[in-house]
């Protein structure tokens, strides 16, 4: 199935001679640093391979911010467009994925600023007694609402910086060092934000009766 819809154009705006300037190797076989290098030299094919590799990391993070596939589709597209424009500035000693997720996080933050969506901090909700909770069955066991869904809703209610820390750790699986690069903060701040997010979620699980014990 041929899906080439595009005449490659290099960074100087000239059309690339596909046969002359094209990547000699199948981009699928290349490691990220080599792909990035090729993309920086103007190979759109190499850039598309990077898109293929990381589209779910970007899309997933966008989706968890906006909660809707179509919005996440558009937002993730904007991320890759920004990445394409900024590719020349990417330093190849850094991890491409981390750089891309930083763009994603920043784009998602901007999205919310523009949309002026009100995110109710979970601690606010807890104080008012409006913390989210699932409907429990008569024996108190979580029946009506799946636990993971409840946790996701609680995560969505966290403040933006705490939510991002949690998502980068639990959904994207980043190390603390990588999280610090994405969030552009120190590792100490990473740990602090992650801990805060987890404490809030623990309080929620206690309120739900899913765990016993007392929050500290």
């Amino acid at each position: 199935m041929t899906v080439s819809l595009y005449m490659p154009i290099g960074y100087d705006g000239r059309a690339l001679d596909v046969m002359g300037d094209a990547v000699a190797l199948d981009p699928r076989t290349l490691e990220d640093p080599e792909l990035v290098e090729q993309a920086q030299r103007g190979s759109y094919e190499a850039f598309e391979e990077l898109v293929r590799r990381y589209r779910n990391d970007v899309f997933g993070l966008c989706y968890r911010y906006v909660g809707e596939r179509e919005e996440a589709w558009d937002l993730s597209q904007e991320v890759f467009i920004k990445a394409h424009r900024g590719l020349k500035r990417f330093r190849r000693d850094a991890r491409f994925r981390t750089w891309l997720l930083r763009i994603t996080a920043n784009r998602c933050k901007d999205y919310f600023k523009k949309r002026r969506l009100k995110t109710v901090a979970l601690d606010d909700m807890s104080a008012s007694g409006d913390a989210p909770g699932p409907a429990l069955g008569p024996d108190g066991i979580l029946e009506a609402r799946e636990l993971g869904e409840a946790i996701e809703q609680a995560v969505a209610a966290l403040s933006e910086k705490h939510r991002l820390a949690f998502m980068l750790r639990e959904y994207e699986g980043l190390s603390y060092q990588e999280m610090a690069e994405v969030m552009e903060c120190t590792m100490g701040t990473v740990m602090s934000r992650l801990h805060h997010a987890r404490k809030k979620l623990q309080e929620m699980l206690l309120d739900m009766g899913v765990v016993e014990g007392s929050a500290t």
Binding site: M1, V3, L5, Y6, I9, G13, E48, V51, R52, R55, N56, F59, G60, Y63, R64, A72, W73, S76, Q77, E78, F80, I81, H84, R85, E146, L147, G148, E149, I151, E152, R169, E170, Y171, S175, Y176, M191, S192, L194, H195, R198, K199, L201, Q202, L205, V210, V211, E212, G213, S214, T216
Partner: protein, 149 residues
């Protein structure tokens, strides 16, 4: 049993995330009720989220995704660039004359295409539908000679 000298929850979090292997924390969590509960909360949360359906762009959606992306990248490139490539005059008249060949249809085993509607928003342009000897149907845009678009 809740032990004394509990590590901070941040420390337990680091241990849980594999950021700081610590045999002391291992032992403590195994034996301290409170810290064990906290670690269990972390474990439950992670396990519950792992059960959630994946949010992804499937391979079958990639052609459309990449297509949208290419269009988006090129639209960005258009801004600020002087578009000086396309001439919308001259050959239109020649093309219109050369292509004005109408053929009566022959017997066909398969129902042919139909053009239900065709128009253009370009001032002065016309459209025509042509069916060739070999059954190829073409909808053609005839541009005005002095298209000032």
């Amino acid at each position: 049993m809740t032990m004394k000298n509990c590590p901070t929850e941040e420390t337990i979090g680091r241990w849980f995330d594999g950021e700081a292997a610590d045999a002391d924390v291992d032992r403590h969590v195994a034996n301290c009720t409170r810290c064990g509960e906290y670690a269990e909360t972390l474990r439950m949360t992670r396990a519950a989220l792992a059960e959630r359906p994946a949010v992804r762009i499937e391979n079958s959606q990639m052609p459309a995704y990449l297509n949208d992306l290419r269009g988006g990248i090129h639209r960005r490139r258009m801004w600020g660039r002087v578009w000086a490539g396309v001439s919308l005059a001259a050959a239109a008249v020649v093309a219109a004359t050369a292509l004005l060949t109408v053929v009566t249809q022959g017997p066909t085993a398969v129902q042919a295409h139909s053009v239900l509607e065709a128009h253009s928003d370009i001032t002065g342009a016309t459209t025509e539908t042509i069916e060739y000897d070999n059954g190829t149907m073409t909808v053609w845009l005839n541009l005005p000679e002095d298209d000032m678009q």
